[in-house]
Subunit: 325 residues, 2 copies
């Protein structure tokens, strides 16, 4: 079995052997730029791990793995424009370093090149299945992004809507990557479906944990500023849970704090955290998160592959879900 | 054989039977909006005409036909943002009626839905060929758009670069639509290639004519303002040809006029036209255009289909290239 660094090496080598065209460089340079910003290559690695449950001939899975990474970076490039984000991983975003036209057009061509990679898989029956899964997931990612955009101006977002948004925007692509790994290996429909559900549910658990860590993470380990969501008045799961279960006074106090941007940032973070704490919000959210995580691993257990072949997938996803705790 | 209105009716009915999802409506409403602005549906009609050379079972070609129309509208939605265009067909563009985020995201999902339509063709072998052609052409359309963007800030664009730009940005999609019609009918590689070349060369001829008509069209028949390119100081083929062959004094005068925006618009149009006229630019451009047109129809002649089946395609493309003359 391969280790995570070995998978990442396979992906890097495939990417190097399948570069973007040289010209027009104004179109393709930003694609290279965003791919070089240092993402974890989690999605293609998951695809290869899903594939390795059933087969060792990685040449059959690498084009689809790279397709998923290209798609992910396409979404980042366009989302950064929509979010007017100046930085990604501490470097200027594409539309900041170049301009909005470049961000749109280079993103577009990167999406098309994702399909070009899928088609390179070669076997027509497998390509059709890959394209079907990819189309379904890619559509859902756009729908999730639209829900996220809608939520910014809505004050009545329910917890189930929020979970649905993170499911579509993030989790289905993790599930889709695993499912596509199974499809590349011509695994059974049932195994492909269990892998999809594993990734989808683990992805939801991961995003829930992300909300939790943004406020309760260890500042020494958490990559971003702890409390960032609070300062941005983001309607995270912590906020929605509070508004659902806390006494009216706490709800009103939270809403008031979320409409105030003046004052000391650390005081605001402390005040909001105090409301969360006295309503046991972190524990409630952690329970939700663990339910999704538990369900996820049940699906992995149901996949009909040797236990030894599941180890790396189990370990990688478990570590992602154990970070900072 | 079908008539153009019959083809358009087939396309409209297929579109009505394959609507966008209802939700999230913020994502899909702009897709319906741009498709309802009243395009000619030229590309899907060409695809069906290419298909009809070999087969009558239109159910096999309609998903690909609609895919090509979705792709075309995706490019319009994103190009309108890049061009900061307020109007399309006299109605507000998507990013003007909604906002840039909507224009980007609804465009993205429309591109993905084009692939979703391709996959609906069903036969895995045909889908793979369709996806390969579509990927190639879609990539080239992005590259053509990038060249067009680059040309705005360049003063040394050659005629061959300009022709290459219009070929990539517009003509290859017409060729690709015809090629995909042939692929849906499982026509021979050679016939598919001849159809592609027919569409590509006719597309170049069409775009060259567009430059000519913008300055020399009959104001009563030409949809847009005659002289619009001159007022926008666009580096059209007329300008590039002048800079290539005219005496230095005329070149300098043209460059001076293109750097002046003040003064009477009709006087500027007349002054630029006078330079074109005394250098026989319209006749030279028309000769170029006719060469591409002639080559195009040679490729149509080489397609191994009954002459009767070629009539509608011949007539439709000839009429497009005869407009306003």
């Amino acid at each position: 079995m391969h280790t995570l660094p070995q998978f990442l090496d396979l992906i890097d080598r495939y990417a190097a052997e399948n570069p973007f065209p040289a010209s027009p460089h104004e179109l393709y340079e930003p694609c290279d730029y965003i791919l070089a910003l240092g993402g974890k290559r989690l999605r293609p690695a998951l695809l290869l791990m899903g594939f390795e449950l059933f087969s060792d001939d990685f040449a059959k899975a690498l084009p689809a793995a790279w397709a998923v990474e290209l798609f992910h970076n396409f979404t980042l490039m366009h989302d950064d424009i929509m979010d007017a984000a100046p930085l990604r991983r501490g470097k200027p975003t594409v539309h900041t370093k170049w301009n909005t036209t470049t961000g749109i057009l280079s993103g577009d061509v990167m999406l098309i090149r994702a399909y070009l990679q899928l088609a390179k898989t070669g076997d027509p029956g497998v390509v059709l299945e890959l394209v079907n899964t990819f189309n379904r997931v890619a559509t859902e990612v756009c729908e999730g992004q639209q829900m996220d955009v809608n939520f910014e101006t809505r004050s009545d977002v329910s917890i189930s809507e929020y979970i649905r948004m993170i499911e579509l925007k993030t989790a289905v692509l993790l599930g889709g990557a695993l499912e596509m790994g199974a499809l590349c290996a011509r695994a059974s429909k049932s195994d492909a479906e269990h892998l999809y559900q594993f990734g989808r549910l683990a992805g939801i658990a991961f995003q829930i944990q992300d909300d939790l860590l943004d406020t309760y993470g260890d500042p020494a380990k958490f990559g971003k500023q702890v409390g960032g969501d609070i300062l941005q008045n983001k309607k995270t799961l912590l906020v929605l849970k509070t508004l659902e279960i806390a006494p009216e006074a706490d709800c009103l106090e939270l809403q008031r704090l979320m409409q105030t941007d003046a004052g000391d940032p650390q005081e605001k973070i402390a005040a909001v955290r105090a409301i969360f704490d006295r309503n046991q919000i972190p524990a409630l959210i952690a329970t939700d998160q663990q339910r999704f995580q538990y369900q996820a691993f049940e699906h992995l257990a149901a996949v009909t592959a040797p236990a030894g072949r599941k180890e790396i997938l189990q370990k990688t996803v478990a570590e992602l879900l154990e970070r900072e705790r």
